[in-house]
């Protein structure tokens, strides 16, 4: 009889989820077909949500699915479909311009470096944090208590953005 | 009452159109045989002056050397009816389109064109309506050779 400890099972799950997330993220960048890229994005989002769930941040995970995987991705796919040219199959072709390659490469290296630095220099807790039992209630108290002004300001900002989008889409009537 | 009206109308029309119009009567209809050049004039008069607002039927008959285009007109308010016929030679089978007078002539003329091969001058969209676009010939002509059996 072979035996696994609880920790290793947790690790295995994490590896699987992380693998899906990274593969999805790679797919977003590497797929030639932009619809495939958009759908890979869904898998990335789902992977991130799964990681949240694993960290006992269920609320965040559910919101991640609801907003990012369920809504934002659909929005992106919609935008792609509406703005797309006739040839949908090969829309994400790599550019041939060296300048663009250079700029993209620089940004990638810088971001990678900063992430590695952030991971390397952080103090990580050695055991998994125990999740708070009533995380939703605490979030609610923070959002509608301590940070209510910021919360409401964000809401008004979003409203303004929505109205702006409608005006842009409908167009101002010319005399 | 109606009969008298129709009689008066025919008389008046005969005066106006002269020898271009020959009136005959069968047991069902008063038939106005009109020269094809005067067809739109007559039809306009019939619609505007005598209230024939319903072009019920537009058809054609193949009489060998000539085609006959037949119009059955009805007047919905007065409940009158009249038949207008015009003859056109087979070699230049063409007659003025009535689509401006009765829009309902649109598909009916297309049908006559499709099946009988009569062209309607001034029809904006004279294409086949029942048969496929690549069909050759006009089946209702008497000289149409039927395939199969």
């Amino acid at each position: 009889m072979f035996e696994f400890s609880a920790f290793s099972l947790y690790d295995a799950a994490f590896l699987a989820i992380g693998g899906v997330t990274i593969l999805g993220a790679l797919g977003v960048v590497l797929f030639r077909n932009i619809i495939y890229s958009a759908l890979s994005l869904v898998f990335t989002m789902l992977g991130v949500a799964a990681i949240y769930f694993q960290l006992n941040a269920g609320f965040l995970g559910a919101i991640q699915i609801l907003v990012y995987a369920g809504a934002i991705s659909v929005l992106i796919i919609f935008a792609v479909m509406l703005l797309m040219n006739k040839e949908a199959r090969r829309t994400n072709l790599p550019t041939t311009r060296t300048k663009a390659w250079f700029a993209g490469g620089t940004i990638t290296v810088m971001m990678l470096a900063s992430i590695i630095a952030a991971v390397g220099f952080s103090e990580w807790p050695k055991t998994a944090l125990q999740g708070v039992d009533n995380s939703v209630g605490m979030l609610a108290e923070l959002m509608l208590g301590d940070y209510v002004i910021a919360f409401e300001a964000a809401a008004i900002l979003l409203l303004v953005a929505v109205i702006g989008a409608i005006i842009l889409a409908k167009g101002v009537e010319n005399k | 009452m109606q009969e008298i009206n129709l009689e008066q109308m025919v008389q008046k029309l005969e005066e106006q159109l002269g020898d271009k119009l020959i009136t005959t009567r069968d047991q069902f209809f008063t038939v106005l045989n009109i020269d094809k050049m005067a067809l739109p004039t007559l039809m306009l008069k019939l619609r505007d002056d005598y209230g024939f607002n319903h072009l019920a039927n537009l058809s054609s008959v193949d009489y060998g050397e000539e085609f006959e285009v037949v119009y059955h007109l009805y007047s919905i308010p007065a409940n009158d009816k009249v038949c207008v016929k015009t003859r056109i030679p087979r070699i230049s089978a063409e007659v003025d389109s009535l689509i401006d007078i009765w829009p309902t002539a649109d598909w009916q003329e297309r049908e006559v064109y499709d099946l009988m091969g009569i062209k309607f001058k001034g029809h904006p969209n004279l294409i086949r309506v029942l048969l496929p676009d690549d069909f050759v010939g006009h089946p209702l002509r008497k000289d149409f050779v039927m395939g199969g059996r």
């Binding site: - | 039927n57 059955h72 409940n79």
Partner: protein, 366 residues
């Protein structure tokens, strides 16, 4: 600022709600219909050419296939046209039976129109209600002609055979139930909020346009013109019956739907009167085996079919076959307004409009 491409959607000829092979090409801007291009001829059988090689009697069954949902009406029109041409007198009893059969056919056709509108708008149960009631008419047809759908019971000079004994009770019980049926259709669909929203103001056909485009039948009456050939130019013995012509004024889909339900009741009244006055006697005139009309005679005979003015134009050259036969098909003419009523509506309105204009493709494609 937002611009979108125009694209075409081919509705039909193989499509669940095109009533048997209509091909309508919708030119769409998003969900809005810019135009509809109707392509006909999917079920074209060149009936008019066939007529030229069949004797007058042989052609009778072909006419039944024109409007296969109201099978007795096109047969009646054709037989009456030939009788007019040849001067044949039809016995009284046959005239009354013809009226009963014709009105039953009209009810059958309207029930299809009503119930098919139901299913086209997604109310599947509506279809079943209409079909259930129509089944009784089919049984009555089976009693007379032996055929349920494509009956050629009406013949030149009368009807095929006398009615069987069970015919009158069956028709009587059906007529008695017509008000109940109307209530049921109205109860299931007419008052429904969604139904009204889908139909009201959809596909408006104005009075002027209806006349200009030669629209006839229930569609014309829904646009506000109470014009019915049974009253305007009575054929057969229609002048002996007392009935009303229902008319509406809106000309939208809801009116076209309502008018058909109301006409069920009027047809019921006519059948009732015909049953009450049905005389005894012969059902078929003595006619020669070979029918020949005088050379050069011609006739245009029109009847009020379930779909509108159904006309037969027959030219004779003295032989036993028509020299030329033209069918003035009401569906063919009525379909002409489809682009007109659809323009500016949304895609789903196209389906509503096809359903309420009630075309039948056997007739329109011939």
């Amino acid at each position: 600022m937002m611009q979108s491409d125009i694209y075409n959607v081919n509705v039909g000829p193989i499509h669940p709600s095109t009533h048997g092979g209509l091909h309508a090409e919708a030119v769409m801007d998003g969900e809005i219909i810019q135009d509809v291009i109707v392509h006909l001829g999917y079920v074209h059988r060149s009936v008019e050419k066939i007529a030229e090689s069949k004797t007058y009697q042989q052609f009778v069954p072909y006419t039944a296939r024109l409007d296969y949902l109201a099978t007795n009406l096109p047969v009646l029109g054709y037989c009456q046209a030939v009788e007019k041409l040849l001067g044949i007198e039809v016995p009284e009893r046959a005239e009354y039976i013809r009226i009963i059969m014709a009105e039953l056919s009209r009810i059958a056709s309207h029930q299809i129109a009503i119930s098919a509108t139901g299913i086209d708008l997604g109310a599947t149960t509506g279809l079943m209600y209409g079909m259930r009631d129509r089944e009784r008419i089919m049984n009555i047809f089976e009693m007379t002609g032996g055929q349920r759908l494509l009956s050629s019971y009406i013949r030149i000079g009368g009807v095929g055979a006398d009615i069987p004994d069970e015919f009158i009770p069956a028709v009587q019980s059906f007529v008695n139930d017509i008000p109940k049926m109307m209530d049921e259709y109205n109860g299931l669909m007419t008052g429904n909020e969604i139904w009204e929203a889908r139909m009201k103001g959809v596909g408006i056909l104005s009075k002027e346009d209806a006349v200009k485009y030669g629209v006839t039948g229930p569609n014309l009456r829904a646009s506000g013109i109470a014009y019915d050939i049974r009253k305007a130019e009575p054929y057969g013995i229609y002048d002996r019956f007392d009935f009303d012509i229902p008319a509406r004024s809106g000309g939208d889909s809801l009116d076209r739907w309502n008018i058909r339900i109301e006409e069920l009741g009027e047809s019921g009244r006519i059948i009732q009167q015909a049953l009450d006055n049905l005389p005894e006697g012969e059902v078929k005139a003595k006619i020669p085996k070979v029918l020949k009309a005088e050379a050069g005679t011609e006739v245009y005979h029109r009847i009020e079919s379930a779909k509108g003015e159904l006309g037969y134009y027959i030219v004779s050259d003295g032989g036993n076959k028509p020299y030329r036969l033209h069918v003035r098909a009401p569906s063919f003419i009525n379909l002409m307004v489809l682009p007109l009523v659809c323009r500016g509506g949304v895609f789903q309105d196209l389906i509503t409009n096809i359903a309420t204009l009630d075309p039948i493709l056997g007739e329109s494609d011939r």
